[in-house]
């Protein structure tokens, strides 16, 4: 189906089901319960899940398949954002042309950066990409201010030309839309104590992520993908089998840059502004963390990693002392203070500490990322299942045992 084998198609269906139903299962707690702050099903966060998911899926095509670790991919995300906002200022607030230009600009930019950086491999490649990204960040704040808006960044303004949209009526503001369907519009569904928000922007971003994910599966399963995996496995040997490795690594670099462009364009589509901070090296580092945390080289790992980091960033960072005190209200005063003071450094502004600890634990115990953890758990279950089916082997057919 869709030129995928049965297993990949099932995976795609699974991811599609999860993304489509995310507004429901990300809000497991009723709105007035004390755990409601753990609900992640609000549009802004869900949009981040899928947008950073796209970014990480693309990054994984470079890092997961070829092993080339870029520390500058945020530059392509930033370039995509600027391209999208300019399209919205000059042509139309419709997100389609904006995203198309994001992909083109990010692709061309990554072609230039990749062409130079891929002359080296290993740590030298990483440093070169980092240098390019930091250079872009600095330029965006200095000489490129007329294009980037410098520190204030860029937003659509009333007096922008927007050739295709025409002039705004008095009091009207320019809103990103898809043929009139505004990104910010949502439908709230109240069921008992629960409220589920279905947001247009989220669903458009989710569809983009599903397309990106599908393309990534196709790349993984293609002869091109095999060559990329061979680069990671033994780059020198590849030359002796008649393969020129540089065009392959450059193609992977540009494809991953274009994915970053889509993510940058979608960011602008959801929240119509662009700033240079998106290009800062920490943003590049974040996508590396997402990919490694989820499982580099796996299909779905980077999306999981992106989801986990964004969830922690948005949910754990909101927990403050008042919330902690409310949680431990049942404990005697002295114990409550101890519990709050022990947990406090790991939440709120200290969420990075929690992330760091999780990252360390994953890298030490699960070098293959969260996906390795799931595989191990799956392995335990299938072993147990195997034992059970062995015991009834006489009565069960082989097909049933499988």
């Amino acid at each position: 189906m869709l030129s995928l084998n049965a297993r990949d198609f099932q995976l795609l269906l699974f991811v599609a089901a999860i993304t489509m139903l995310a507004p429901i299962f990300l809000n497991p707690f009723p709105v007035d319960s004390s755990l409601a702050q753990f609900n992640g099903g609000y549009p802004d966060l869900m949009q981040r899940f899928v947008i950073f998911g796209i970014f990480a899926i693309g990054f994984n095509i470079l890092f997961g398949l070829t092993g080339y670790l870029s520390f500058g991919h945020a530059a392509f995300l930033g370039a995509g954002s600027y391209a999208a906002i300019w399209m919205m200022k000059l042509l139309t607030m419709n997100i389609i042309p904006a995203i198309i230009l994001s992909i083109i600009v990010a692709g061309l930019f990554s072609l230039a950066v990749g062409f130079i950086s891929l002359r080296r491999s290993g740590i030298y490649f990483s440093i070169l990409t980092l240098a390019f990204a930091q250079m872009s960040y600095s330029l965006a704040y200095s000489v490129l201010t007329p294009i980037t808006g410098g520190e204030t960044g860029l937003q659509p303004k009333l007096n922008d030309p927007r050739i295709l949209d025409g002039e705004l009526a008095a009091g009207e503001t320019a809103r990103a839309n898809l043929f009139g369907l505004e990104m910010g519009s949502s439908y709230d569904l109240a069921v008992g104590g629960w409220v589920f928000t279905f947001n247009v922007g989220y669903y458009i971003a989710a569809i983009c992520m599903l397309l990106a994910f599908y393309a990534s599966i196709r790349i993984f399963r293609s002869p091109f993908g095999l060559m990329l995996r061979a680069v990671k496995s033994n780059q020198n040997r590849l030359g002796y089998t008649g393969v020129s490795t540089r065009p392959y690594t450059l193609a992977a670099f540009v494809i991953s840059g274009m994915y970053a462009g889509v993510a940058g364009g979608l960011m602008v589509a959801m929240d119509t502004q662009a700033g240079a901070e998106r290009m800062f090296w920490t943003a590049s580092g974040e996508v590396v963390l997402m990919t490694i945390l989820g499982g580099a080289g796996t299909l779905i790992g980077p999306v999981l990693g992106a989801g986990m980091i964004k969830y922690m960033e948005n949910i754990i960072s909101k927990i403050n002392t008042t919330i902690l005190e409310a949680w431990f209200a049942w404990a005697p005063d002295g114990l409550q203070d101890v519990l709050v003071s022990v947990i406090y450094p790991f939440v709120g502004k200290g969420w990075h500490l929690t992330l760091g600890l999780v990252f360390m634990l994953v890298v030490i115990f699960l070098p293959g990322g969260l996906m390795e953890g799931f595989e191990k758990i799956g392995g335990l279950f299938s072993r147990k299942k195997g034992k059970n089916s062995d015991s009834v082997a006489g009565s069960a057919s082989p097909a049933a045992a499988e």
Binding site: S3, N5, A215, R218, I219, R221, S222, P223, F224, G225, L226, M227, R229, A230, K232, S233, N234, N236, R237, L238, G239, Y240, T241, G242, V243, S244, T245, P247, Y248, A251, I255
Partner: protein
């Protein structure tokens, strides 16, 4: 994009006589030094089309250096290597391979993270697609013709049961067989074998000899570097003897057997 058709118009044809079309591979006056050590001096070698040419010599004679010069891994200080009118010297290894020259390494250099089947299919894909092809939406599983051939060659080499396992988990002997399969699937016009049976048990060595004999019958030109004289005299049509970086003798197997210079070079090493 394909590089299979690499133009030979600009290639220098130093030493290659177009009038003798059956000489397909020519090493012309190659010198290579590492510091003060002359690894190769005045090496001249002609290989005819369809011939199996063995290069023998004691340890440190420069055999592997010569092979490295042939495949572009090392650049000679002087001289040139010419294959079918194309100067290989100065070319990238992938360009040399795309011209139809495949090398089987002495120390297995496979792709450890790929499966055995993928390892064997990869060189066939590169032969068909050239040095680069952007086909990200083509299914690897749909490559049935190449897959069938890879399975066939792997099975012939005794790798049939290991097709779906990672190459890293193969034994050293199996890795050598995999190396050979990776070279053979390309149906190269020139196959360079660097001690293909080193470390193999006698039965496996004999099986490899039989396999190489069938390849020979198909008309493939083979240059083989080998220590095992049983392999050399079973396969070689002609033999060149390398000692101290120089070719000291060249000729038919029987001529080499009786050559006093060769006996002297091998003195104390092995009875020819």
């Amino acid at each position: 994009m394909s590089s299979a058709q690499v133009s030979s118009n600009n290639d220098e044809d130093r030493g290659f006589e177009r009038g003798t079309p059956n000489i397909v591979f020519h090493i012309d006056d190659v010198h290579k030094s590492f510091g003060g050590l002359h690894a190769l001096s005045d090496v001249d070698l002609d290989v005819q089309e369809g011939e199996t040419h063995a290069i023998i010599g004691p340890n440190g004679a420069g055999k592997s250096t010569l092979l490295n010069v042939c495949v572009g891994r090392l650049e000679p200080d002087r001289g040139a290597v010419i294959f079918d009118g194309h100067t290989l010297t100065g070319k990238q290894p992938y360009e040399i391979n795309q011209l139809g020259v495949a090398r089987v390494f002495q120390t297995p250099e496979v792709f450890p993270d790929l499966t055995v089947l993928e390892n064997v299919m990869l060189p066939a894909l590169s032969k068909r697609d050239g040095h680069f092809r952007l086909n990200p939406f083509k299914s690897f599983h749909a490559e049935t013709r190449i897959r069938d051939e890879a399975i066939d060659i792997s099975t012939k080499l005794g790798l049939g049961p290991a097709l779906e396992i990672a190459a890293s988990s193969l034994s050293r002997g199996d890795k050598r067989r995999l190396e050979l399969a990776m070279g053979l699937i390309q149906h190269p016009r020139l196959l360079l074998l660097d001690e293909p049976t080193a470390g193999m048990a006698r039965a496996d060595t004999n099986a490899t000899i039989e396999l190489l004999k069938t390849i020979k019958e198909d008309g493939m030109t083979i240059v083989i570097i080998e220590h095992d004289m049983h392999v050399v005299f079973s396969l070689a049509d002609r033999i060149s003897v390398l000692a101290g970086g120089r070719i000291i003798a060249q000729g038919l197997p029987d001529e080499i057997k009786g050559n006093p210079k060769v006996k002297e070079a091998y003195l104390g090493e092995e009875e020819l």
